[in-house]
């Protein structure tokens, strides 16, 4: 046992310098996560609520929700919120992103996922992927940065459209016309908003 353990330790220590290749490391990290999600999606025997919980367990560690919440308001608006509002906003935004992600999974129908070459830029690594389905292709761009707790996603671009950027414009618009409390209220209402189940069923995997 002890020998085995030392052996593993040695291998890991020796292997560590090669793992310093950040773009590939991040790409692998993402691939492992997505592959695990795909396995769950393809398993039609799992009940949906249970499946969604497991999906969140897999992907949550690589999403930096607090940073995404801040970026969506930006330096311009974030500091104008009280500590309490910041916590509430973070929480509502976090839930919203998760709900939106889970809801998109229902549109998944055995698409093939291709991984492009990851690009490093300072503390950031961007991993391009392509979702290939029967009629079309969707480019998904995962943007990671090196946080204190490892590589984390701070934004996702879908077909050139950045999730954070679209929230920024909407929040900026909302805050120029109304108050932060209106916005929080809106986020809270939308929180309970559930997509028409029939729409989702239509496109669920055949």
């Amino acid at each position: 046992m002890r020998y085995l353990f030392s052996a593993i330790l040695c291998v890991l220590l020796l292997a560590s310098p090669t793992l310093a290749d950040a773009p590939n490391e991040v790409r692998e990290l993402l691939k492992v996560k997505i592959d695990a999600v795909v396995v769950l999606l393809q398993d039609k025997t799992i009940e949906k609520t249970h499946r969604n919980e497991r999906v969140l367990d897999i992907i949550s560690p690589i999403f930096d929700y607090p940073t995404m919440a801040k970026l969506s308001l930006g330096k311009k608006h974030w500091p104008t919120l009280s500590q309490e509002q910041q916590v509430l906003f973070s929480d509502l935004f976090h839930k919203r992103l998760q709900a939106s992600y889970l809801e998109k999974l229902d549109l998944y129908s055995d698409e093939e996922i291709l991984y492009g070459t990851a690009q490093a830029e300072g503390k950031k690594v961007h991993v391009p992927t392509t979702l290939v389905s029967k009629g079309s292709k969707i480019e998904m761009f995962y943007k990671f940065y090196r946080s204190a707790e490892g590589w984390k996603i701070y934004d996702v671009e879908i077909g050139g459209v950045s999730v954070i950027q679209t929230y920024r414009s909407q929040f900026d618009g909302a805050l120029s016309e109304g108050t932060i409390n209106d916005l929080l209220e809106k986020l809270r209402i939308d929180d309970t908003f559930v997509i028409d189940a029939a729409d989702v069923k239509e496109v669920s995997p055949k």
Binding site: A20, G159, G160, Q165
Partner: protein, 267 residues
């Protein structure tokens, strides 16, 4: 025995340390589903903690706040966004659902291929205008293959067997390629989000679309309507899903459209 387990647990600590410190990035998957020790996992603690690095990342998003968006038509645009939304839910969607119930997916995909093949002139000319000669050549080759082997374009052997992809380019993108700015945003009836540049771009593309050269304009309209229904039948649920993400539908679609066009012009 106790000593052995102690050594192992000390070793384990060391192991975790080695793993988390220099390779913090891969720790998540190297340790499988187990997260590295949740040192700062308190949600309350995360909010102020992320303060330091969060705004470092902001540089790439900054454009929106520094350059105010010029949107003189926003009043009209908002109304038209609602109109288009209603048209989708009240007319286009039910019709597409009915059509989908009758025509099997294979047939609808084939029809989609047919229309895409027919629109080759739009892509070919705009690739040429942007001097993307290789892509223009690919478009031409695909057209020849799909119109013959692919039986009038109902199949897509160019993609399936020759790995040739389509390079969608339109005149709006051609103008953008040569540095023409987008101008203000316009929501077009039925067609949805657009801007001044892309709306102007519709006119040259109109003449390159063979359907518009049919003898009767009613026939052209009917074919276009069919094309739209066919396309929608293959993409039901997508608009609904997008809409669910919006806090303000108009701003959301406007911004998404402009970003997407920027990206397409860059490609």
């Amino acid at each position: 025995m106790e000593k052995a387990s102690q050594t192992i647990s000390t070793g384990l600590l060391l192991f975790l340390f080695v793993l988390t410190v220099p390779l913090s990035g891969c720790a998540t998957h190297a340790t499988g589903t187990h997260e590295p020790a949740p040192i700062a996992a308190q949600p309350e603690a995360l909010v102020p903690q992320a303060e330091d690095n969060a705004f470092e990342l902001e540089a790439e998003f900054d454009e929106t706040f520094t350059e105010p968006i010029i949107d003189p038509l926003s009043g009209y645009n908002r109304v038209m966004t609602q109109v288009n939304d209603k048209v989708y839910f009240w007319a286009l969607k039910p019709v597409s659902q009915g059509y989908r119930a009758v025509v099997p997916e294979g047939g609808r995909l084939a029809a989609g291929h047919f229309f895409r093949n027919l629109l080759m002139p739009v892509r070919f000319v705009n690739n040429l205008l942007q001097l993307k000669l290789k892509q223009a050549g690919t478009e031409l080759t695909s057209f020849v293959i799909n119109s013959t082997v692919g039986v009038l374009g109902f199949g897509d052997p160019a993609a399936d067997y020759f790995g040739l992809q389509a390079y969608p380019e339109d005149f709006g993108q051609t103008l953008g390629h040569y540095g023409v700015g987008s101008g203000f945003h316009i929501v077009l009836p039925l067609l949805g989000p657009s801007n001044l540049r892309d709306t102007l771009g519709l006119f040259p593309d109109y003449y390159l679309d063979p359907i518009n050269h049919l003898d009767h304009s009613e026939a052209a309209q009917a074919v276009h309507a069919f094309q739209t229904v066919n396309h929608t039948s293959l993409h039901l649920g997508e608009y609904e899903s997008l809409k669910g993400d919006a806090i303000d539908l108009y701003t959301f679609l406007r911004d998404g459209y402009e970003q997407r066009r920027e990206q397409q012009i860059k490609e």
